[in-house]
């Protein structure tokens, strides 16, 4: 039995010894928590970098936690509950579920922890019903981003296109807003028809499969709008597999490095760039202002840009 104890103690000690720096309520600096959807996506890694730079500059301690998988809102809820116990000064969060996370934020509210919502908005009704009022929202307007993509397609296609759409996880505010923006933009051009619109759940391999199936059903598709670059990159591979590289316009979202390479190579038309590190920076700055009792605007819009071959240097 001594071995159980020794082994568990050793593991715990080993895991903790390298993390002493992170637990610093003791040095008097306020702590800001940043809870991300996941850390295995470049978008959130960039966001953390921006947040860390701002925290270092402002002299606050930043605690970053994330669920293992982007969709695991129950795990995210546990993280929020646990962080509240450590007496964080403010909570910045990118909700994995716009409605579901509200239950956890109620607990933050009851513990008087101010909330900064980043990137994905809370469901307005669920938040209002629970009495959760975030101090501010920091993010890009996904609707505007979708519109940017739609307007661009109208321009490059001369108002004539047959479009396949790859959606994110159904019911996700982020993807739904991008989709609405895109649809509203292309409505202006009667020559543009959306022939298929299917979810590929934000994933690259599903983007491949779903678009391959779409091409089977509608061989006349000449344009793709994917609500994220990972799905767009999957579609590009499906296009290559069908021997149609360069003949189908692919417009994505996020401007990932791989997407920029594809745009430079001509296999992708454009991608809407967000600036996650900017979001992280503004989120931490806002949180610090709230802790200091300064006022913050209810909504901070982080810029969006369309990346095309022309804008890449």
């Amino acid at each position: 039995m001594r071995r159980t104890i020794v082994l568990i103690a050793a593991i715990a000690a080993a895991s903790l010894s390298c993390n002493r720096g992170a637990t610093t309520a003791r040095d008097g600096k306020p702590t800001v928590a940043l809870v991300l959807k996941t850390l295995n996506h470049p978008f959130f890694v960039d966001m953390r970098r921006g947040a860390q730079e701002a925290a270092d500059r402002l002299g606050v301690t930043l605690q970053v936690q994330a669920a293992e998988r982007e969709i695991d809102v129950e795990k995210q809820m546990q993280i929020v509950e646990n962080l509240i116990q450590t007496g964080v000064g403010a909570l910045c969060i990118t909700p994995s579920g716009s409605r579901e996370i509200v239950s956890a934020l109620v607990k933050a509210k009851n513990a008087n922890v101010p909330i900064v919502v980043v990137d994905t908005r809370l469901d307005a009704k669920a938040a209002a019903d629970a009495g959760v009022r975030p101090a501010t929202f920091v993010g890009s307007d996904n609707y505007e981003g979708g519109k940017l993509a739609g307007d661009y397609l109208v321009k490059v296609s001369g108002g004539n296109a047959r479009v396949g759409i790859l959606e994110g996880i159904p019911g996700h505010e982020t993807g739904d807003s991008r989709l609405r923006g895109f649809r509203d933009a292309v409505k202006a051009a009667p020559g543009i028809t959306i022939v298929a619109s299917q979810p590929a759940n934000w994933e690259r391999d599903q983007g491949f499969n779903v678009f391959q199936n779409m091409l089977q059903a509608h061989s006349d598709i000449d344009s793709v709008f994917a609500c994220s670059d990972l799905m767009a990159l999957g579609a590009i591979e499906a296009i290559a597999a069908a021997g149609k590289s360069g003949r189908i316009r692919v417009i994505g979202f996020d401007a990932l490095d791989d997407a920029k390479k594809a745009i430079a190579a001509g296999t992708m038309e454009a991608s809407v760039a967000q600036f996650p590190s900017e979001m992280g920076r503004v989120a931490v700055e806002s949180a610090v202002k709230v802790i200091r009792g300064e006022t913050v605007p209810p909504d901070v819009n982080v810029k969006l840009e369309l990346v095309t071959k022309d804008t890449l240097k």
């Binding site: 039995m1 715990a12 936690q65 809102v73 450590t86 239950s103 996880i169």
Partner: protein, 311 residues
């Protein structure tokens, strides 16, 4: 009962206490009433799923479908509530879905003669697909406070999920140790052929074991749905692995026939305390996975070493 079991269970309990002691030294936030209740509440879902898993593993099987059954039962419950069914009816629908999936698993394993791994792997995919199909992939959310009290309610400071967990463990412990069905679960896992030759209706009892697992998954689904105020078709992914881990850390042998529910509860608590403590300490989420994986491997290693010494 073999002499090694109480000692080993005792050891797991000491492991838990030592873990708590280390966290107590490292962070002032761990040993507070609020945080311990927090841990108990967070552990409840995995602990309840692990009850059914313990029955299955004791009988010498495995159930990979529990996470998907959580999702499927959850969305059936959620849509019944959303359709305006009274709470008892909606709960009955949800629990019946779980039991139904479990019965299907059990029947295919017992009468179909298929390996549990394959059958429940299939059900894992079927139940997940059914949950997605049923909801068209969208979460069902926004339930009445009378339902949400199952997650948010408290009885003298104790959160409702913890009370449900305690009741499930008491009932299941009684079934496992004080009923013939319970004894047969151990017997089947210990030596199925010998049990069959002594006249036990193996097929029936094995089917019931998987029904128990479906039922506990559905009970977990009720709490999860109330907790998130949302029934998600993508809920419960990887719950099977957490439940197997809790069972195994708790000293139940994957070969069947040997283990206790008290051990499983301690196993689930060790995982919950670890996750909580690593959050409190601000350990990176990547490192957390390594630590939890390490604890599982060490627990099984210990199990093996102790068995060898006993033999």
């Amino acid at each position: 009962m073999p002499a090694g079991i109480p000692i080993r269970q005792f050891g797991t309990a000491i492991g838990l206490i030592v873990l708590c002691g280390i966290l107590w030294i490292l962070t002032p936030h761990f040993l507070t009433v609020a945080n311990l209740l927090n841990v108990a509440e967070q552990t409840s879902i995995n602990a309840i799923v692990a009850v059914g898993m313990t029955f299955v593993i004791l009988s010498g099987g495995i159930d990979l479908s529990v996470g998907s059954i959580v999702a499927f039962s959850g969305v059936v419950l959620g849509s019944a509530l959303a359709a305006g069914q009274p709470l008892p009816i909606a709960l009955a629908f949800g629990l019946a879905t779980g039991i139904g999936c479990g019965l299907a698993n059990g029947a295919l394993i017992s009468w179909g003669g298929l390996p549990p791994f394959i059958v429940t792997l299939g059900t894992m995919s079927i139940a997940r697909g059914a949950a997605l199909l049923f909801t068209e992939g969208r979460p069902i959310s926004g339930f009445s406070p009378s339902f949400r009290v199952l997650a948010t309610g408290r009885l003298a400071f104790i959160p409702a999920p913890v009370i449900v967990m305690a009741v499930v463990y008491l009932v299941a412990h009684f079934v496992l140790t004080r009923t013939t069905f319970g004894r047969y679960v151990y017997a089947i896992g210990g030596n199925e052929e010998a049990t069959r030759l002594s006249g036990v209706a193996i097929r029936f009892h094995k089917t019931m074991v998987y029904a128990v697992s479906g039922l506990t998954s559905a009970i977990a689904a009720v709490i999860l749905t109330a907790r998130l105020n949302s029934a998600q078709p993508i809920a419960g992914m990887m719950y099977e692995l957490d439940a197997i881990a809790a069972t195994v850390i708790g000293g139940t042998s994957l070969m069947g026939g040997d283990g206790t529910l008290a051990g499983t509860l301690i196993g689930a608590l060790i995982m919950g305390v670890l996750r909580n403590g690593l959050n409190l300490l601000g350990v990176s989420s990547f490192l957390q996975q390594i630590v939890i994986g390490g604890v599982i491997v060490v627990a099984v290693l210990l199990d093996t070493v102790l068995k060898r010494n006993r033999a």
